[in-house]
C-alpha cells in the first residue's frame, strides 16, 4: 500500500512536500489510519502527529485523509482507501507547526468567544442546580463535541474568516449553553453573536455535518441560534 504524507519541518525544510512511503499491511486486517501512521513512524521517527487516547475520545488526531477530515484512530483504512493509496494531510486552513501538527490557536480563540461555560447569577443551591429530564434532553447532540476541529477546518467560511466567523465547533457549543435551562446569560450570549460574521457567515453547506466523527449536526445548532437571534430582534 502506498501512503503519501504531508511533511514539513520549518527548521529544515523551505517548503512543505509530499513523502511517499510503501507499506506492507498484514493480510486480512483492517487497520485504522492511526495504526498506519504508527507503522510509518517506526520506519521514520521524525514523522510528527498528535494522538492520545486512540479510540475517538480525546480528539487529538484530527487530520485530512484522502480529502476528508476525520479522526485517524477511528477511521478504518477500508473506508478511505482509494486505489490502494492513502493521502494524509494536516487539517486544512490552520497554520502547520510541523508535518500533521497544526496550530489550533484560532480555533480555540473562537471557542473561547462563545463563553463555553455555564453562567448563572443566582446563588448556588446547597446541593446542585436541578434540571428536568426534558431540559437535559435538549443538550443531547450538543455536549458530545470533543473539539477535534474536523468540522471547522472543513468549512470554507472558517477558512476565509477564521478570525471573525466562530465556526461550526464553536457555534455548536454556543447553542449547547443557549439551550441549557440552568444558564441565565442568554441575552449576553446572543448579543455577542449578533453581527454579520460570527453566526451568519454559515452558508449551510453542511461540510461540518458530513465530517463530524461523533455524528453531530452543527448546521442544525446554527439554525437554532439564527432563530433565537431572529426572535430577539423582531
Amino acid at each position: 500500500m502506498l501512503v503519501s504524507l504531508y511533511r514539513y519541518n520549518p527548521e529544515t525544510d523551505n517548503a512543505p512536500y509530499m513523502q511517499d512511503v510503501e507499506l506492507d499491511i498484514p493480510e486480512g486486517k483492517d487497520l485504522m489510519v492511526l495504526d498506519v501512521l504508527n507503522l510509518v513512524k517506526e520506519q521514520d521517527p521524525s514523522m510528527a502527529y498528535r494522538r492520545s487516547c486512540r479510540e475517538g475520545v480525546c480528539g487529538s488526531d484530527g487530520m485530512n485523509m484522502n480529502g476528508k477530515n476525520g479522526l485517524a484512530c477511528i477511521t478504518p483504512l477500508s473506508e478511505v482507501l482509494k486505489n490502494n493509496k492513502l493521502v494524509v494531510r494536516p487539517l486544512p486552513g490552520l497554520p502547520v507547526i510541523r508535518d500533521l501538527v497544526v496550530d489550533m490557536s484560532l480555533f480555540y480563540k473562537q471557542y473561547e468567544k462563545v463563553m463555553p461555560y455555564l453562567v448563572n447569577d443566582n446563588p448556588a443551591p446547597a446541593i446542585e442546580r436541578y434540571q428536568s429530564p426534558e431540559d437535559r434532553e435538549k443538550l443531547d447532540g450538543l455536549y458530545e463535541c470533543i473539539l477535534c476541529a474536523c468540522c471547522s477546518t472543513a468549512c470554507p467560511s472558517f477558512w476565509w474568516n477564521p478570525d471573525k466567523f466562530v465556526g461550526p465547533a464553536g457555534l455548536l457549543q454556543a447553542y449547547r449553553f443557549l439551550a441549557d435551562s440552568r444558564d441565565t446569560a442568554q441575552e449576553e450570549r446572543l448579543a455577542n453573536l449578533d453581527d454579520p460574521f460570527s453566526v451568519f457567515r454559515c452558508r449551510g453547506i453542511m461540510n461540518c455535518v458530513s465530517v463530524c466523527p461523533k455524528g453531530l449536526n452543527p448546521t442544525r445548532a446554527i439554525g437554532h441560534i439564527r432563530n433565537l437571534l431572529l426572535q430577539r430582534a423582531t
Partner: protein
Amino acid sequence: MVNSVTNLGRSGVFDWMIQRVTAYVLALYTVFLFGFILTTDVTYDSWSALFDQTWFRIFTLLALLSIGAHAWVGLWTVTTDYIKATLPRFLVQALCGLAMFVYLVWGIQILWGL
C-alpha cells in the same frame, strides 16, 4: 461581537432578513413576468399598457430596490470573503454600491419616462 460598518444592516440578523425578504419579492416578480409573457401576446401595446399601470410601476420599483439590497448583501459577503486587503475591498464595494445606485436611478427614469 465582530464590528463591521460596510454591511447593509449593521447587524447579521437584519442582513439575513433583508436577503430573504428581497428574494421573495424577486421570485414573485420573476414568476409574474414569466406568467405574463406566457399568457399574453406580447406586443408593444400590451407591454406598454402593463407598464402604464401605477401598481406595476410600484411592483417594478420594489423589485429594483430588492435587487439592489439583495446584491449588496451578497456582494458584501463575497468581497469580505475573498478580498483581504482593506483598500481594494473598499474600492470594489464602492464600485458595487455605485453600480446599484446608477441602476436604480436609471430604472426609475425608464419607469416614469415611458
